[in-house]
């Protein structure tokens, strides 16, 4: 326990986390500090490209092992399955309507790539290696949760729209294409390709992450301010309990398929994190009756900061404990 807090302590005084905190405070204090939308989008493209590329290079260097397919499979199972658990929890813990609960559930089955990136950074800082293909697992986990959520709504008689067009949009959404594409480029060009562009995608990576998290803090803070009173205590509790539940399941699956310590932590982080990019856009189309400020506040305002500060160290400690046991 003290170990977790020590871990969380070191984690908390990193420039990355402090940048997030700065953004959060600035927004809560109603400063007019903002990062232009285009710059924020540019940074997220940079981060996705870099993380995908490095993942691909890692796979090209260490080769594909049987665990790769198992991990992809685990990712699919998690993304399809977690929304069902989230939905059940939400119906128990909160008074949300079926539609709202399903929309929130979709977010928790999907993933937050920034949380994943922050965890990767933290592992690197501690010299804990992880399978490079976890990036690919992240990519496959983006979309399936949306299907589960729509199924939940359809089952309950309310209509949720899943036109084939929407399906295509979800699967080919920018983040997935960029992540998978950069992964492929990294896998094809390997260490040689990395050497050519590492001064761009490796060295400045953490610094860019700081500014990006500053923006995430600003957005999360503004969201929290605007949604004051929208959320009950039950919903907030869900947004902290669900990551822990997800991480536990991720831990089990990760150990089952024989991932390394780092790989297990990343699978836990993927399970624990909630989407706030791809899924909200899909929900606006597929479940327009669901209230966006509920799912955005939970995912971005509560779960994201929780994972970033306490969650990741907890997952690492749990994985170390389980691996040691």
């Amino acid at each position: 326990m003290t170990e977790i807090f020590a871990l969380a302590g070191t984690n908390l005084v990193s420039p990355i986390i402090l940048s997030f905190a700065l953004g959060l405070l600035a927004a809560l204090a109603r400063s007019d500090l903002t990062i232009p939308e285009a710059v924020a989008k540019g940074m997220s493209i940079y981060l996705l490209f870099a993380i995908g590329f490095k993942g691909g290079v890692a796979v090209s260097a260490h080769g594909v092992d049987t665990t790769l397919l198992l991990s992809i499979g685990a990712g699919l199972v998690l993304s399809f399955g977690l929304p069902l658990i989230a939905f059940a929890l939400l119906r128990m813990m909160t008074g949300l309507s079926q539609t709202d609960a399903a929309a929130v559930a979709a977010h928790y089955g999907s993933i937050s790539i920034v949380t994943f990136v922050a965890a990767t950074s933290m592992l690197e800082g501690r010299m804990i290696a992880a399978e490079g293909y976890m990036v690919a697992v992240a990519a496959v986990m983006e979309a399936p949760a949306i299907l589960s959520a729509l199924w939940l709504v359809a089952r309950s008689g309310k209509q949720g729209r899943m036109e084939p067009e929407l399906m295509r949009e979800i699967l080919l959404n920018g983040s997935i294409v960029l992540l998978v594409g950069a992964f492929a480029i990294g896998a094809i060009t390997g260490e040689k390709g990395l050497a050519e562009i590492s001064a761009f995608i490796v060295s400045p990576f953490k610094g860019v992450l700081c500014l990006f998290l500053l923006d995430m803090g600003l957005i999360a803070g503004r969201g929290l301010r605007q949604s004051k009173g929208v959320l009950g205590i039950g919903a907030v509790a869900f947004a902290i309990v669900m990551p822990l539940v997800g991480a536990t399941i991720g831990l089990g699956l990760g150990m089952l398929i024989g991932l390394s310590l780092g790989g297990i932590v990343l699978l836990m982080v993927l399970s624990a994190s909630a989407s706030y990019i791809a899924v909200p856009a899909a929900m606006r189309v597929a479940l327009p009756e669901a209230n966006p400020s509920i799912y955005l506040t939970l995912s971005l305002g509560v779960t994201f900061p929780f994972n970033l500060t306490l969650g990741i160290p907890i997952y690492l400690a749990a994985a170390q404990f389980a691996a040691g046991a």
Binding site: I35, S44, Q226
Partner: protein
Amino acid sequence: MQTHIAKRVEIVIEAPLERRLTNALTQAGVTGFTILPVLGGSGRSGKWSRDGQVGKAGMVAVVCLIRPERLDALLDAAFAVVEKHIGVVSITDAQVLRAERF
């Protein structure tokens, strides 16, 4: 200069719906439209601002100039898309140059 009577329809709609709306308009016989960015706004579902967004969020304004006789078809098409979503539709009387374009 010779002008022609027309209607100017302005639809403020969520960005993820943009393509669906313009497809519906095109199917309803609309021959042209212009899309303007929106920085922020306020309505029944609260305040929002482009700065507070990640991903393809936010709203856009779609402006359509059409012959008056096509207005109803356009409004029906637009309404089908906008109906369940946040956003507003407004219509103004206008005049246009170069009627052959509409």
